[in-house]
Symmetry: C2
């Protein structure tokens, strides 16, 4: 059955794969091994139940340092009528953990006994006195840990399928085991393919792609209990790829063939799988990640690795987000099955979507989201959906799956988020929306050391104010100049946040200017030079403070947008503007000095502006934000910001204004 | 300052330790190292923030297989007015991922272009046609992944202190890194001491203790990101212990000295610490675990391991529960500090205590609990508080900390549980209370393969019915004979569970009889032989079905409790009774054949009885219990039970009765 990139529903793909695994005898634990019981057993999965071989304690043990006695012989003892027991006959000394003599059934703690010499004087330190005097009767089995108190031989200590934790190792050892039968770690071969790939650490040129999917998948395999083997990069050559697959299938339990899984001219994966085995699935209706291949490779007869005659193979799409999600969707459950443990179950949390998201109806759509608690609401904000944006998985707090057939979700709708972080991580996350500034990255770095996480979304200054109004952020970075008054932010807050009491705290003063290639080959000096249409400009998006600044000064100069080539080219951050200039896509853009320096551009300062953090009063006084406000007075943080070019920290932490508009 | 086992509050002990660490320069990350960026970096902690060195993509990349064009040259194209672009001049072919030519700013996907030969015919497969015809204009940057779409050079990729996950490795590699600076794994020496200790796997005699605390602590250290070194067992000898400590301190960051931390005659730890450094704390008011030692060892001058001149040492109490909790309370936060990451934060959950617990007011009391959801309530039931019962930590779902000063908690009171399992594990837990039967262990083992966990508490048949009445269990195992009717369970349910509709499902029929040492040296044959007072009997607790059975037959025979030696010796399980006989503590006890066989005892069958699972209707029909009820009809499970001696599975799964008493 050969299906060329015909997306089938996920459940159908999984069922087809499961059936083939069943037929191949690979539906359950594939192999077990006996390992010594030591700290290396941590995280391994029991292949058999552990039944206690030995009781624990395996004898009646004294639970105190003291004197072993027969309880009946202590009867009648009281403060006024002590009872005397002769050492060596009626009592003997035992340390904690010592076995009780067979005739004894209780222990008198040393501090409750009065050891006596032969002449009757008391020697509290004596361990072999002539006799002891006691002033209270003891019930039988007092201060004794009876045999089996902890575990009784034959009892179930741990069931098969259990993932071993530190204390489990103690219980297994205490119940008489020195080896454990566990599932062998599944061996997973990871074969990156692609002529354009370069190994990590080698210099790259345009067109080269740094090959890191194999590292991500190898780390996933390891985290999930498997043993990865990373193969070297194979160029796009049918025969070479086939040879690697055949080699890997011989001594691995699973082959992951990276990239080439689509249907392009140099996508050999599907054809290789057909050539050496059975192509079960080519294309699964999940997004991102749909060009997934599932198949079985026939092992060459000389393989002595296992009894099974075939090795499953998964063709993993080349885009990094697709590759990582293919690991989660297909590889993790397979390893769980082979290890005999429960599949990973992410923690989930219910959140409200901040905005409407549409979804192609035919696919299961794995949407990355950032999650935050703002006041009483838990919010999920969608982030980049690009399959090539690995940083979106790094930033994501979790995944919302929009099942095929759904058209998407409405703003405010409740969704279930599969978390990548713990609920506590979410609770200590500060959501910052608004204008981008490089000091926010420094702030994030410093906050990480103070038990807070800064998740910032760059939506421009006005977007940040709107987010505050909607209760979707804890603070907004803003540098909105009011052309009427020359004041920053206040007029916009009056417009966007009526009725919301806010505090405006200055973060930095910063220079705005033109970024140009080193040496300024396009010879711009001022905004006026943009009007000639010979210079290719790159703009910020509508609503960004930098855009407001540009429009303000253009109006002053009488320049209209149509005169500026590239005025409609919008980027969302200073760095993106700088990157556009550095790459030659544009000749210049308006932005901050730090962004220019970061990409090796020249910077022509034009204006000085103030960048404030706008914080609703409720959040301003919250425990969540306290460390952030403290940092604004922190010498180390101020010093770190001051090293960035174009920044003025003299007003950092000043309350610029406090507003409550009614 | 030397404090001999004078318990001080936990916060004070931590503060004293923290101060000494500060003085020694050990308050933060102690050392860093550069490691290659590959899958072995998984779980390591970043010692520096990762800033992007390279943008990703580091060039403008085609996002499709297709033809690169200038967007302006496509203007005006429509279905009826196609535009033709000359190959090599106005367009060129690019694969996905290829760099865009400098002059181009958009890509037309191959399926949207009409490649033409020089004569004007269309060849859809042509990659180097004479020209292409297009029937729609494209906006600039369409189907292009612009440079920096994922990450822009100089951007913060990850903050210091971040624990590396698989996708993080991808982002670091994609942003131009091939090495990462991480915190060096703290090296932790673990020195078990005690003349009574035997290594795992060696034969043991009475008085020998299997040394596994070092394995538990080593596994903890590894799980928390450290590198453990397990030293061999050192006997109780001051000089030998001192020599090991000095040796370990030289090339480790932390020394854990196991056992000997109390104030007994062979407890050398505190004196050793005083001899080689500073004893900071001897005794912390936490329970279990109070004889903890905190100190600093002076490094010998020839040490070249680090710049610091001292090594912290923790004296860990010998009882295994105390040892494991000392790891959690003192070692984990220290490793977190040295690694620069956040300390571990267990998930928490609010539950209602099933019963009142009193606590010694002066200590922070770490109470182990089992947690379950019964109907709408989440319940926490305390389990063994013994410091020697490692199985209690294995069984525990979490810890409730009763802070010093608290007198305990009332039944029904809400408590915060620090979870050892995930909330999902809790949700799939079946709470079984009642009479103990060995088949419950088998049931637990089989249920583990069906996505359910069986947590059973042995409280006797009547205790189980009371638990059902209180809504504290999903089911109760019961074998309560009604002396009036000869029927099982019904009369007791009428008494204990009025108004609760229940189903009685038979689990097994089983033989009850006398367990005696092999060869029956005490020559008992029947209950009548117990009345002579020469035979030492061991009994089950009041309320246990076996106790009811005994009392019934004793009454029939006219025997009164006073005639039976050991009638007041109560054990809570069949195995505990068997252990009492096997150890010589008693001559015989009444119980089931399987328990006798398990401990190598002879079994004299006296009666046959029925053991039912009593299940409230609500739970009987729940998804939670469905796999359990299915198992009662499962051939493999029935066969496994049938191999146990004395069991009859012919009625397994039969509904014995359905009751609703009003």
């Amino acid at each position: 059955m050969s299906i060329y990139l015909h997306d089938i529903p996920l459940a159908q793909a999984q069922a087809r794969f499961a059936e083939a695994l069943q037929t191949a005898g690979l539906a359950g634990v594939i192999a077990t091994e006996e390992i010594p019981l030591n700290e290396n057993a941590l995280g391994r999965v029991l292949a058999e139940p552990v039944w206690a071989k030995l009781s624990s304690p395996h004898y009646h043990a004294s639970a105190m340092d003291g004197f072993a006695v027969r309880a009946t012989e202590t009867e009648g003892a009281s403060l006024s009528t002590p009872v005397t027991l002769i050492y060596g006959i009626q009592t003997t000394y035992v340390d904690t953990g010592d076995p009780l003599p067979l005739w004894a059934n209780a222990v008198i703690p040393i501090e409750e006994a009065e050891p006596q010499t032969a002449t009757g004087t008391v020697d509290p330190a004596a361990r072999r006195p002539y006799a002891i005097r006691i002033r209270a009767a003891t019930p039988p089995w007092k201060h004794v840990r009876p045999m089996g108190e902890d575990m009784v031989a034959t009892e179930l200590v741990l069931p098969a399928g259990h993932v071993l934790r530190p204390v489990d190792l103690g219980a297994c050892a205490g119940s008489g085991h020195h080896e454990l039968r566990v599932a062998r770690k599944p061996r997973v071969a990871i074969i990156p393919t692609g002529t354009e790939l370069k190994p990590i650490g080698e210099p790259v040129q345009a067109g080269d792609i740094i090959e890191y999917n194999s590292v991500v998948l190898a780390a996933q395999v390891r985290a999930w209990g498997g043993e990865p083997t990373r193969y070297p990069i194979t160029v796009d050559d049918f025969d070479l790829i086939q040879a690697q697959v055949v080699d890997a299938a011989r001594d691995h339990d699973l082959v992951l063939l990276l990239a080439g899984s689509s249907a392009g001219s140099e996508d050999f994966s599907a054809r290789v799988v057909e050539a050496v085995g059975t192509l079960l699935v080519h294309g699964v209706a999940v997004r991102p990640g749909h060009p997934v291949i599932l198949g079985m490779v026939e092992r060459s007869p000389q393989s002595s690795f296992t009894l099974q005659s075939s090795t499953p193979i998964i063709g993993v799409p080349g885009y990094p987000v697709s590759a990582a999600l293919t690991g989660e969707i297909f590889v993790e459950p397979l390893l769980a099955r082979w290890l005999g443990r429960m599949p990973a179950e992410p923690l989930t949390l219910t959140a409200q979507m901040t905005r409407k998201v549409t979804s192609p109806g035919g696919d299961d759509d794995y949407m990355r989201v950032v999650v935050g608690q703002v006041g009483a609401r838990t919010l999920a904000a969608p982030i980049s959906r690009g399959a090539g944006v690995i940083s979106s998985l790094v930033r994501a707090d979790g995944i919302v799956v929009l099942p095929s057939g759904s058209q998407g979700v409405a703003a405010g709708e409740a969704v279930e988020v599969r978390l990548y972080r713990t609920p506590r991580d979410i609770a200590r996350t500060i959501l910052a929306m608004g204008s981008h500034d490089m000091t926010l990255d420094l702030l994030a770095q410093f906050l990480a050391g103070k038990g807070r996480r800064l998740a910032s979304a760059n939506v421009g200054s006005q977007g940040g104010l709107v987010a505050l109004k909607r209760g979707e952020a804890h603070l907004a970075g803003s540098h909105l100049l009011d052309p009427e008054t020359g004041e920053y932010n206040v007029a916009y807050i009056q417009r966007y946040l009526p009725g919301v009491p806010v505090v405006g705290v200055t973060l930095v003063g910063r220079a705005q200017g033109l970024m140009v290639l080193r040496g300024n080959p396009c010879r711009v000096q001022s905004l006026a030079d943009l009007a000639g249409k010979e210079v290719r400009f790159v703009n910020r998006q509508r609503g960004a403070g930098t855009r407001v600044l540009l429009d303000y000064h253009m109006t002053q100069l009488g320049i209209v947008p149509l005169q500026v080539q590239g005025y409609d080219q919008e980027e969302y951050t200073h760095l993106a503007v700088a990157a556009a200039v550095a790459s030659g896509r544009a000749d210049c853009g308006l932005g901050i000095a730090a962004a220019a320096q970061a990409l090796g551009l020249d910077f022509l300062p034009l204006f000085q502006e103030r960048y404030d953090l706008i914080i609703p009063e409720d959040h301003y006084n919250s425990l969540l934000l306290a460390p952030l406000l403290d940092l604004l007075a922190d010498g180390a943080f101020r010093a770190a910001v001051a090293t960035l070019p174009g920044y003025d920290v003299s007003d950092m932490g000043q309350i610029a204004f406090r507003l409550e508009i009614v």
